[in-house]
Subunit: 209 residues, 2 copies
Amino acid sequence: METPQPLFSKLPLFKEPELKEALLKHGQLLAFNKGDVIVKTGQYVRFLPIVLKGSIRVFQQKEDREVSLYYVRSGETCTMSLAAAYFNNKSVSHGVVMEPTEVLIFPANFLTEWQLQFPSWNQYIITMFRKRYDELINTFEGVVFDHINVRVMEYLKRKSLIEESRIIDISHQTLAKELGTTRVVISRILKQFEREKKVKLLRGQIEIK
Amino acid sequence: METPQPLFSKLPLFKEPELKEALLKHGQLLAFNKGDVIVKTGQYVRFLPIVLKGSIRVFQQKEDREVSLYYVRSGETCTMSLAAAYFNNKSVSHGVVMEPTEVLIFPANFLTEWQLQFPSWNQYIITMFRKRYDELINTFEGVVFDHINVRVMEYLKRKSLIEESRIIDISHQTLAKELGTTRVVISRILKQFEREKKVKLLRGQIEIK
DNA sequence: ACAGGACGGTATCAAAAGATACAAAAAACA
DNA sequence: TGTTTTTTGTATCTTTTGATACCGTCCTGT
């Protein structure tokens, strides 16, 4: 591994030199492209990924439907993989790369070892879990209590905030797969929003008004 | 605190004597009765509970609808409270006692301190998180992809397995609140199941055939 | 320029879920 | 015992969501 310093600039949580050493020694830097599959539902998780650049979409699938759980971004790891690896369980989700992405992977069996050795590793794992946990509960609430139109609007508004733009680049199909429904439903709802002057629809884009 | 030994027999994960000492010193043993509210949505979480006996139902509420997230049982703690306390956020769920329950509570500000001091405390927190996380993802999948009748049957079968009985003691109303729907919907589905000879309905009980 | 694919609009139909209302039976309680 | 509450059954109606199908437009690669 050639570039240790830039690597850890993305991982400020890791304090102990020994932990950095262990990561460099047992880890491997991999580059993925859009569409590459990191983990499939039903697979055992032998390696844990830490994303350095880019993002991984973690989602669930049933027949031809999908729903996003979360995105793993720079500095983050995939809690679903974590949970699966701890239990030595199979993955319950898919992980697919969304853009050119660099990942540091390391063997899952170091998990418990590092957990006992390095406080900052612990801190990192717990931070990841509580972040995802919070997100998940939030989404869960929406799915249980809200109608899809509400969830669509909330999705758009959140996305708009994050990207600091009133225009969101997303197709109806992709939006459907984010929220766990079908394209026709999304198109119908968006058209209704447009009639109500809440959005303006363009090809591949949605403008919030 | 008078009975330290029986207390820690419920918490085999806690290894360090100093951790046990700290728990005894800063913790407080409380007894609750059915219906007592441990935490409300919107409240800040200042104390974390570890259940010693009994159980706490953690659920979300919107208007007159509810959905269960999980039950905190002997030896366990409430991850939702944990996540809230870490972030210094308000609780996003309710926690209500379901039966006579004994709880060890301690100030939330010891969380990070103990996390740095005691490996077994870390182990405990992470174990709790990944357990709940797994459960939550599972339930989430059901809510997104499955129709309620499927979820009802799965609930009944799981409950039947856990309680090692073909007869499940639950009212339609309670079942509705477990799954996040309404009583009428549950009654309708159960009646259909009965017509299909899948269950037998009794007052307050459902027998799986 | 052309073919094929992605994208979006829309109509029709069916199923699922929810809202509301009323009634009967059983249980709890006083 | 009489009253109240809980539990369940059921009918009706509406809304939401999903499934399917068809078409036109735009984009992309060759």
